[in-house]
Symmetry: C2
């Protein structure tokens, strides 16, 4: 008979696959088992450590809801979500980055130049840019889904004082691929720390902060969807995003603008007297 040993268990695992197993399933599960076995052997995982890992998963199970998914957060802080984003990014396109849990379906339509600030009257941030293809040609009529934190650091779904569609909007770029809107600066925030992920971060001596960012999903017919985030260059957490979302091409700069220089063509035109900030961010899509 065959005896299972630490040295042959991976081989035995592979031998269990049936002959009709989908080759991709076999590749993925076989590789996962190979790497998990290698990890277990490499560190000499103890029964106590194994039990703690299982307890962390059970705790994650208890607190996971449709609005708060601790398993996704675990994948995020382990760098897995970001790695999946990166290896599925397309050459020549703007980098993709974590979707995160705060996207809403059916965001309210916005006209080019509309304002997202709602009841918040913090300093205006004017965001504009162009959607282009890999050759630099404009992509007319691209659909741009935009969301961000309010100035209090909360997404609408985390904040009973905000409408669920607060700081969410869906804009169609013009015939030159251009988009523009006004908003406020998004702010840095922490991922939830009251579950097992918080304990892991704490034990690792890691902070739970994400640098502030604007979320975008950019879609256009014939092009691959782009899910991404854009980060200001001066954010203190830029080099230490706890979910590993920052890429160099996703960094933007807020340019301070003097009082009295607010342009025409915006919902806020004529209403902004003081200084404001301006940022230009272009997206590159690649064809399907």
């Amino acid at each position: 008979m065959r005896t299972v040993t630490p040295d042959n268990i991976t081989e035995v695992f592979q031998s269990y696959f049936g002959p009709d197993t989908d080759p991709r399933f076999r590749e993925v599960i076989g590789s996962l088992a190979t790497h998990l076995h290698a990890f277990t052997r490499e560190v000499g995982l103890t029964h106590d450590e194994w039990r703690k890992a299982l307890e962390a998963l059970e705790w994650a199970a208890k607190i996971t809801t449709p609005e708060r998914n601790e398993f996704v957060l675990l994948s995020d802080v382990m760098g897995l979500s970001s790695l999946v984003d990166m290896i599925n990014s397309r050459q020549g396109a703007t980098s993709s980055s974590v979707l995160g849990p705060f996207h809403v379906s059916d965001a309210p339509p916005m006209e080019i130049g509309d304002d997202m600030r709602g009841d918040f009257d913090d300093e205006v941030l004017l965001v504009e840019g162009q959607v282009r293809d890999a050759d630099g040609n404009p992509v007319p009529g691209a659909e741009i889904d935009i969301w961000q934190t309010a100035p209090n650091g909360l997404y609408s779904s985390q904040d009973p004082d905000q409408d669920i569609m607060s700081f969410h909007g869906l804009m169609t770029a013009d015939e030159n691929g251009r988009y523009a809107f006004t908003t406020v600066r998004p702010v840095s925030y922490t991922v939830p720390t009251d579950g097992p992920v918080g304990e892991i971060l704490n034990a690792a001596g890691r902070h739970p902060w994400r640098p502030s960012h604007l979320h975008f999903i950019v879609k256009a017919q014939g092009f691959r969807d782009l899910v991404t985030e854009v980060f200001p260059a001066d954010d203190p957490y830029l080099d230490q995003d706890t979910v590993f979302g920052v890429r160099s091409d996703l960094v933007m700069t807020y340019k301070p603008q003097p009082a009295g220089s607010f342009p025409d063509g915006f919902a806020l035109s004529g209403k902004v007297d003081g200084p404001f900030a301006r940022v230009d961010f272009d997206f590159t899509l690649v064809r399907n």
Copy 2:
């Protein structure tokens, strides 16, 4: 600034650890991240596959209860539980094997020679043996915790028709380390297949069967606890245990005994007229 890439994300992950992190925590979590990142890159995990993995964890979360832990089962069928058992086994001791979810605390005490069959009148199996140290000397008074399936393939906690202590017992070996009891043959059974683990086994073309086995925990003062299982040599699933629990030194042989040969010194002595089976299994403990 530093940009995160598929090639440096593991290094970035390691750089996030704080200076005061417990070295063992850092070793385990650092190695886990390294291997999960390598897996993700190696197979080029897609967003769809990542989402399916997250959905499997959420499904496991939904069906996990104190009596049915799908995360433990996932670890079992991936070979992780068994690998942890093996790498923590001590040289010179009887191999350890999966504890499983069916152990109960405070099993009822049994005298040497007692019978476990309860209301089941299947053919008698006489189990006996000796607990020894690594030099072959008897370990007097070792405590032996025993449990198994009923002939219907169910453990007591799975079967409303059985008392919760049915086929569970706690025996103290004699001054020569000897133990003996009568029972019925345990039977092969399937792990639960109505959750994500069942789907994974099905997609992998794997069966959900475990070879039949007797469970033992053997403890003695000054020795390391032994958690193990013992399997009959003629079980059809011996080479294909779906949780990888079989080791060559854990295989036993049922020896058929003729009618009229049942020995003295047992609770059933004088009550067994027909043929019965006999098995001898010795345990070796190593000192702490």
